[in-house]
Amino acid sequence: MSNSATIIVVEDEAQIRRFLRTTLASEGYQVVEAETGKQGLAEAATRKPDLVILDLGLPDMDGVEVVRGIRAWSSVPVIILSARSQESDKISALDAGADDYLVKPFGVGELLARIRVALRHFSGAHGDAEGVFTVDELTVDMLHRKVTLGAAEIHLTPIEYRLLSVLVKHAGKVLTHQLLLKEVWGPNYVERAHYLRIYMGTLRHKLEKDPARPRFLLTEVGVGYRLAAI
């Protein structure tokens, strides 16, 4: 995949825009800047971007509204930039369909990694229910419902497998607690986050070498989980 992808940066702080523009341009991305939410929505509609980087603290409208606006007609990946005091906004934005988030301040390495994952995900990996997912020695064969770690096949209960398969389908993307509960247990279970945590724990004990420092099943504290994609 070439780096000629178009990225819209919706951010009101000029200094942040400047740094993003310089960095992203040097990586070969086409950068379109927008200062306000409205402008961002307009650019997203006309420029057919490959990715949107959206700051949650916009002066004119709620970042969550911008995510909803984009999601109304497009599945373009959206990466959110948030400050530490915006925990709940961040979760709402993820629930509204944003793909990933970064907490300010963040390093360039982190940002570029997220961008790569999001772009790859968007360009074809997603929705691949029949494919085989591999990262390091973990392999998930979606067709045969087979999970192997190195050479050993891992036996999972149906719910554990369902949980893993939802994560595989959105590999690299942050999935909120609510979304996972709904997908795996059904809409009646969205308030019972401890179900998710218990099953995530058993899944880790089966798949991870050191469950306290997971390699694959990453915790996004207070937000949800992410399956490492690379």
Partner: protein
């Protein structure tokens, strides 16, 4: 000549009085001997002069009695419209106090000071309206006749034979700035009356027959002149005090007035008042309750209550004492109060009785050698003729006077029945022992019966059983038996002595019983006060004090109660808290406000706004008004009794003091908090300025170097500079995060988002966040596999781990291990983060948790010293605790314990899937 100099305290008091007077309005009273002498006329003349001088004069209420000359004078003066009140189908026209206060003139005319207001008015009496006007700083001109003065009331009733109901306390006259006597010789007055200048012709004729007799007029004139002279005399004395012509009065006289039953109590009180005025003495009126006095009739008891109330109104202190012997009690009390004189009523006993048994007066005169005794004669008594008011009929219960009469009828009858039964039993016992014992012993059995009956049923039944005992003894046992006849006449003596002994025993037993009851009553009162004080003393928080206050007041005074407190702007508002079962609702806030503003009682049983059912008492403490206690008494008369009122006052002041204590404590706390905040701000500023400046200096330096010399720098140097900028910026970000966390935690803005979490995941989150900086530190995570879920805010606890790990990285040499471990006991989860570094300096284990505290030799490790403070705040917000120590093997260990509870159940996998 030091003696000649005024006492500084007395002078100070005088200055304060003068100060208070200056702020108050000035009261001028036009004083006359009777109607028609020209008081209103004089008042209007004076008012016109004031107006001519340019003063803002308003006629608030002027009674012209349709006299032409007077009405002429009223012309041209601004007259305040009267308030009309519908009362029992008649329209009353009353002075409009509120309009006057609103209009707020410099001088207002309010005629007829002794007037009684219509029932719904704010005050019962017009003189109280005037008081309020004066308090508001308005000057008042008013008029009054001598017969309306409280202390002269009885004298005048005797002279004229016409009782006067409308009276004005003497204090009002004494406080007046000026009194102008309007004098008219009786002949001229009668002439005026004849000419129809005083009353309309028909009225005039009737008046002349009754009141306006020449003899009356002369007497009244004399009283008015004397009264005025007394006042001039008092002014003279004041003047002399001011100018130190004589010693300032230092040795105060104190009168002890002893009132008793017999209808003369009120006269005695008035006479004593006049004497006290003359001597400028304090005076105390006591009523001494003995067992005998408890058996007084309803009428007599009411007289005593009324006299005590009158005494209070006239400015006396009152007390009700109980004792066995009147004279001893009076003298003992006089000595404890340092009374210089005792005032007594003239004995009413017939001469032969006095000669035989002595009298109170004689005994006191004999025993109190060093105290002057005044004996006041009995006067014909027009006033105290049965004025049975509901107030008194309802109020007897208290004082503990009415116990006998309050007993229900059946008990009363049962007593007599028991007298028969006891006699029958005694006869039975005697019958059994008759064979073996002497007759004299049988008498003892009967006497025992009398004692039992007396102790249980009081006087009547015990007297009955005395007689019955003698009769039964005679009939059944004295030979010839079964006959009332007596064979040996010496038995007659036996009977007489037996009866006498039985009666004496019954009398003494009954007395003892009453004493015990009175003592019990007092003790209950003191106990209730003690209980209140004790509970209040042990209470913190306004809410609790209010609750306790309401509870106790409700119990002791049989009333519903509520404490009303002002808001920030000084307006009384309804309480916001949840009420108690004893709380009363629906108090009148405007009355409460009045009480709060004027620091005076109001409501039922008082002189102000007596219309409603509730009583409002000001809660006044040393620093001023605290609030208002509103009471809805079940028995209003109880509250109005002097004794009870004093108890209530004590309660009120206790409550006020307790509330004040809380208020002051809160203020102190606020002040301290402010001081601490100030101090904190300074520490914060210096910490931030240091911790921000250092990284900023590095960033500015490194980045400017990159910008300027980029050609000269090799790749390695550029990387070094970039690395330096990055690290310093991260450090600043950390500081900003900590400050933000601290601010949020301190502001109480943090609402914990508690969810059931596996600890492992939180530890993992923290480790992932620290990844880059922990590369050189091997971390051992040792969590038992069966660790239960804990209900925590994962973001917050992650901060705890992150801060602890960061500290470990900061203070331990690179390459040393860090260990995270956890264990559980029954109630808590214990987490430890330990390192292999130099450990915590001795004695710093607790201080490191303090805000901005840094270990001394920290050097430029950075950090504002907030990390551990935040950790502890977070753990404590979770209901846990946090501490630190050094491990035996070296290195610091940080521990925190979180409470465990039963985690939520989880359905089995199969159940969910089906």
């Amino acid at each position: 000549m030091a003696d000649q100099r005024p006492d500084p305290d007395a002078l100070l008091e005088k200055v304060q009085r003068a100060e208070a007077k200056r702020r108050r309005g000035r009261l001028k009273i036009f004083f006359g001997a009777s109607a028609g002498v020209g008081k209103t006329f004089g008042m209007l003349l004076a008012a016109r002069e004031r107006r001519a001088e340019g003063l803002d004069v308003v006629a608030g209420y002027v009674e012209t009695h349709k006299r032409a000359e007077t009405e002429q004078l009223l012309e041209g003066l601004e007259v305040l419209p009267l308030r009309t009140v519908e009362y029992q189908n008649t329209t009353l026209r009353e002075f409009d106090l509120d309009a006057a206060l609103k209009r707020h003139p410099a001088l207002i005319l309010v005629d007829e000071l002794a007037h009684t207001n219509a029932p719904d008015s704010r005050h019962a009496k017009r003189w109280q309206d005037v008081e309020e006007l004066l308090d508001a700083g308005i000057d008042v001109y008013t008029a009054i006749n001598v017969q309306h003065i409280e202390s002269l009331n009885d004298v005048i009733s005797q002279i004229t034979g016409i009782p006067v109901w409308e009276t004005v306390p003497d204090a009002v006259l004494e406080e007046a700035t000026e009194i102008e006597l309007i004098d008219l010789p009786p002949d001229e007055l009668l002439q005026r009356l004849k000419e129809g200048k005083v009353y309309l012709p028909q009225q005039a004729e009737r008046a002349a027959k009754n009141f306006f007799r020449k003899g009356n007029l002369i007497a009244l004139r004399e009283l008015a002149l004397r009264r005025t002279a007394d006042r001039v005399d008092a002014q003279m004395r004041d003047y002399r005090d001011d100018h130190a012509i004589q010693n300032v009065w230092q040795v105060k006289e104190r009168l002890l007035v002893c009132i008793g039953p017999g209808g003369t109590a009120e006269n005695l009180v008035r006479a004593a008042y006049r004497l006290a005025q003359l001597l400028r003495a304090e005076w105390v009126v006591v009523y001494i309750e003995t067992a005998k006095l408890q058996r007084l009739s309803r009428q007599q008891r009411d007289d005593i209550l009324r006299a005590l109330k009158l005494a209070e109104e006239l400015g006396a202190e009152t007390a009700t004492l109980s004792g066995y012997k009147l004279a001893e009690e009076v003298i003992a009390y006089a000595r404890t109060r340092n009374a210089t004189r005792i005032v007594l009523g003239k004995p009413t006993r017939p001469e032969w009785k006095r000669w035989l048994f002595g009298s109170l007066v004689d005994t006191i005169i004999r025993q109190a050698r060093d105290i002057d005794i005044h004996v006041v004669g009995k006067e014909s008594n027009i006033l105290s003729q049965s004025r049975e008011s509901p107030y008194f009929s309802r109020s007897r219960l208290y004082l503990g006077l009415a116990s006998e009469e309050q007993q229900p009828m059946f008990k009363w009858r049962a007593g007599y029945l028991w007298a028969f039964v006891a006699t029958a039993i005694n006869t039975g016992i005697s019958w059994v022992i008759f064979e073996h014992f002497d007759l004299a012993n049988l008498i003892m059995v009967y006497l025992l019966g009398v004692v039992v009956v007396a102790a249980r049923y009081g006087r009547g039944p015990s007297v009955l059983s005395s007689f019955l005992g003698v009769v039964a003894f005679d009939f059944f046992f004295v030979p010839p038996r079964f006959s009332f006849a007596v064979s040996d006449s010496q038995y007659l003596i036996t009977f007489a002595v037996m009866l006498l002994v039985a009666l004496v025993i019954s009398g003494m037993t009954v007395s003892t019983r009453h004493q015990a009851r009175i003592a019990g009553h007092r003790e209950r009162r003191i106990a209730s006060l003690f209980a209140l004080s004790r509970e209040l003393a042990a209470t913190r928080g306004e809410e609790n004090i209010l609750r306790i206050a309401v509870k106790h007041v409700a119990e002791v005074f049989e009333a519903q109660a509520v404490v009303l407190l002002p808001n920030e702007t000084g307006r009384i508002v309804y309480p916001t808290g949840e009420g108690e079962p004893q709380s009363c609702h629906g108090g009148d806030l405007s009355v409460a406000q009045w009480v709060y503003d004027h620091a005076q009682m109001a409501g039922q049983g008082t002189d102000t706004l007596p219309g409603g059912d509730m009583v409002y008492l000001p809660l006044q403490a040393s620093s001023g008004m605290i609030g208002v206690l509103a009471l809805l008494p079940l028995n209003p008369a109880r509250i109005a009794l002097p004794e009870q009122q004093r108890l209530l006052e004590t309660f009120v002041s206790q409550i006020a003091l307790a509330l004040e204590r809380v208020k002051l404590a809160a203020e102190t706390q606020r002040a301290q908090l402010k001081m601490e905040t100030e101090q904190l701000r300074n520490t914060l500023l210096s910490a931030i300025s240091h911790d921000l400046r250092t990284p900023l200096a590095a960033i500015v330096g490194a980045s400017s170097s990159l910008l300027r010399d980029s050609d000269k720098l090799d790749a390695h140097a550029r990387h070094e500079l970039g690395q330096s900028i990055y690290e310093e910026a991260i450090r600043m970000a950390g500081l900003a995060n900590n400050l933000l966390d601290m601010a949020r935690l301190e502001a109480g803005a943090v609402v914990l988002n508690r969810q059931w979490q596996p600890l492992e995941e939180v530890v993992g989150g923290a480790l992932a966040g620290m990844n880059s900086r922990m590369a050189n530190y091997p971390v051992n995570v040792r969590l038992p596999s069966d660790l239960p879920l804990v209900e925590i805010d994962s973001l917050m606890i992650e901060r705890v781990f992150a801060n602890l790990l960061e500290n470990a990285v900061k203070y331990t040499p690179s390459g040393t291990a860090i260990e995270i471990s956890a264990a559980t006991d029954q109630t808590q989860l214990l987490v430890t983060v330990s390192d292999c570094g130099p450990g915590i300096p001795a004695g710093e284990e607790e201080r490191i948790f303090e805000k901005f505290h840094r270990v001394v030799n920290e050097g430029n490790q950075g950090g504002a010293g907030l990390g551990l403070t935040i950790c502890r705040a977070i753990v404590e917000a979770h209901g846990g605790r946090m501490w630190a120590n050094n491990q035996p093997s070296g290195g610091a260990a940080f521990h925190f314990a979180l409470p465990l509870s039963e985690p939520p159940s989880i359905e089995h996998e199969e159940a969910i899937q089906s």
